[in-house]
Amino acid sequence: MDFCNLATQLQSLNFGLRTSVFQLSSTNMKQLKSFIKKEFYHIFRDPRTMLILFGIPIAQLLIFGTVIKSEIKDVHIAVYDQSKDVTTHEIINKLLSSGYFILDANLENTSGIEKIFKKGKVKQVVVFENNFGEKLTREGEANVQLIADASDPNMARLVTSYTTGIINDYIRKLHPNLEMPLQIKSEVRMYFNEEMKSAYLFVPGTMALILMLISAMMTSVSITREKEFGTMEILLVSPLRPSQIIVGKVLPYLILSIINAFVIVLIGHFVFGVPVTGSFILLMLETILFILMALCLGILISTMAKNQMVAMFISMIVLMLPTIILSGFIFPIENMPEILQWLSHIMPARWFIAIIRDIMLKGNGLLFVWKETLILVGMTLFFVAVSVKKFKIRLE
């Protein structure tokens, strides 16, 4: 620092001491302004960070929208046909023409099953018994065995149920005039998401994740960085008050987060057709509340972490993973064991996701989300209180 600069700093320090603590002088305001400006430059100057900050939500939305699917398509199967008659051929053809399955191999004995599963490509082996067609017409009953590779249980279940459906359909079509008496028909209506788009699930989740990432993780790491390099000391001896330093530190991230939230809602709407049925203003207010909460959490982490590595790990383990796993973003909370369900109550993202789903998809108003909102407000206040208590003006 050159001498001239130091002199002005000292001067302003002197000035700062003379002004009343409770009243913001115009000089102080100016200093705060230039400090905030500095912080903005700091972040926006680095194209790598900016690229990633906007790249993450966009890439994530696109991946979730196009890549993450648990539907069945082109699954490789093998057939062990001991009968090789017209009926089994027809059934196999039906399976293959459905678009779900691709025939990988025709097996000749049972020992081939194990071998082919170990290679990993084939997910199901369909075994027809001897004299399949004959038995079906004569005895009215024939046996098929479906052996699925259940190292992926979800997939295995889907594959067998699709196969069962296709075979049953084939059999039913052999006797088209069959009608059951006393038929009950159930009509299924899908509420809130008629086409069952997965976007309805991942757009709110991505929003929570990204806001957490930028607000909590970035803030905690950037404040810890100042501590690690000792530059925090320089800031603390400046005439800026600690609260002002914090405001200056978090303001850029607040703005970045809001922009990002906008981008996510826009992409969700125009690319994936996720509606905003409720009030847009309420949605934005709730989003800002969540961002504030995350910022306070970030500050709290920074008061506890000694260096950036620790800050990052706390953020990763305590914030990111739970935000992804325990918030109901990908895995429904009701399916989890009791303890984890209980644990999910202290995850802010859980409440936020519930709020956005209510507002965006169900069109609910504040009347429905006041409880969740209050919880978020409470969390914010709690984090502020703890960080104020833990924030040290002096260095040890």
Partner: protein, 372 residues
């Protein structure tokens, strides 16, 4: 060789001097295994159902009793007004609403046909599909019973029937934890490999100590090796530790050879560490490393088939996965652990990982500059 040993000594000392390091090495796998594996499940435990019974006949009551008798279904409320049911959906108090219309029984008797309505909360499309499939199946079973009881036909049998027996190999109980645990372990190893190595190198840059190393006669490859080996060992150790917990807590079967698994994990780690170190050579601060690594890791993990099968992904994504090390490692973990696949079955994965490892590591060594 001696130089590398000295560098390694320095790195190990530096890593373990950090007091948060040890809790991290043991804590992270514990936490992940005990929380994430249990949480990451699509298996449904309970379906909350609201019944809107406008008919109040013996048939409708029987149907409700049928649902009530299934432990899976939890009937939260019985009402007569449809709007109350819809309201429960809005409030998230119900997963599905069963609406039995007026004259349900009468229509059934007179016209041989009757209608029911299932209103499903479909925000989570996956669950919604399962709920509707199960509920329809239960209604169909109820329907069959009804025919048998009222018409006296013992179990309505069609003239031709295929008996389908399903058997699930390698995981006969369809335990979802056996599927998730190898996946979470793969994430664990990746986090350590990619983040820790990268941040460690950039930290030297940030504090300026890298200059001191640069003026020594240490060669580029020696320097990179010094940064690589410690985390390689830590990651393999954590894999073993995580595997042990998984075996202990949820009986994860270890069918294949552990030597094979760790050998291939070693190859995998070299490519991941290579990526981490390469990222650190193109960045200047730990914050940047973190974000760039996070970005790539997220894409790798989501596309690597940990949560959803790669086969269901569009063609371009499957092609992109050829350069995704997690994609290969995920396959290796599940195939060796659950199915007991041997080296011959995994030749393709082995070669691909080796090629990726060589490429990323050479990139890292090439990009690392002693001069600024």
């Amino acid at each position: 060789m001696k130089t590398i040993l000295y560098i390694l000594q320095k790195e190990f000392r530096q890593i373990f001097r950090n007091r948060t390091m040890l809790p991290m090495i043991f804590g992270v796998p514990l936490l992940q295994m005990l929380i994430l594996v249990f949480a990451a499940t699509f298996e449904m435990k309970q379906i909350d159902m609201v019944v809107v019974d406008k008919d109040l006949s013996s048939a409708s009551r029987e149907l409700v009793a049928k649902f009530d008798g299934i432990p899976f279904y939890h009937i939260t409320e019985m009402v007569q007004d449809e709007t109350i049911g819809e309201n429960m959906l809005l409030k998230d108090k119900a997963d599905v609403v069963l609406v039995i219309p007026v004259n349900f029984e009468r229509n059934l008797v007179r016209n041989d046909k009757a209608q029911l309505q299932l209103l499903v909360n479909a925000i989570d499309g996956n669950s919604a599909q399962l709920i509707s499939a199960w509920s329809s199946r239960i209604i169909a079973a109820f329907n069959q019973n009804l025919v048998a009881e009222w018409k006296g036909i013992p179990e309505f049998t069609p003239p031709a029937q295929v008996k389908i027996a399903e058997s699930y190999w390698y995981n006969s109980e369809l335990d979802y934890k056996w599927y998730m645990a190898p996946g979470i372990l793969a994430i664990l190893v990746t986090i350590i490999g990619m983040f820790m190595s990268g941040m460690n190198l950039v930290r030297e840059k940030e504090i300026g100590t890298i200059e001191q190393l640069n003026v020594t006669p240490v060669k580029k490859y020696q320097f990179i090796a010094g940064k690589l080996v410690p985390f390689w060992i830590i990651a393999l150790f954590d894999l073993a530790f995580g595997l042990f917990i998984a075996w202990l807590v949820f009986d994860l079967p270890i069918v294949g050879s552990l030597w094979l698994l760790f050998g291939l994990a070693g190859v995998y780690l070299i490519s991941v560490l290579g990526i981490g170190l390469f990222i650190s050579t193109i960045t200047d601060t730990q914050q940047q490393v973190m974000f760039v690594s996070f970005f790539f890791m997220m894409i790798f993990i989501l596309m690597g088939g940990i949560f959803t099968p790669v086969e269901s992904m569009p063609h371009w994504a499957q092609m992109t996965d050829r350069i995704n090390p997690i994609f290969y490692f995920m396959k290796i973990m599940r195939m060796v652990l659950l199915k007991g696949s041997g080296f011959v079955d995994l030749l393709e994965e082995f070669f691909s990982l080796t090629v990726l490892g060589v490429i990323f590591l050479s990139l890292a060594i090439w990009r690392y500059r002693k001069t600024t």
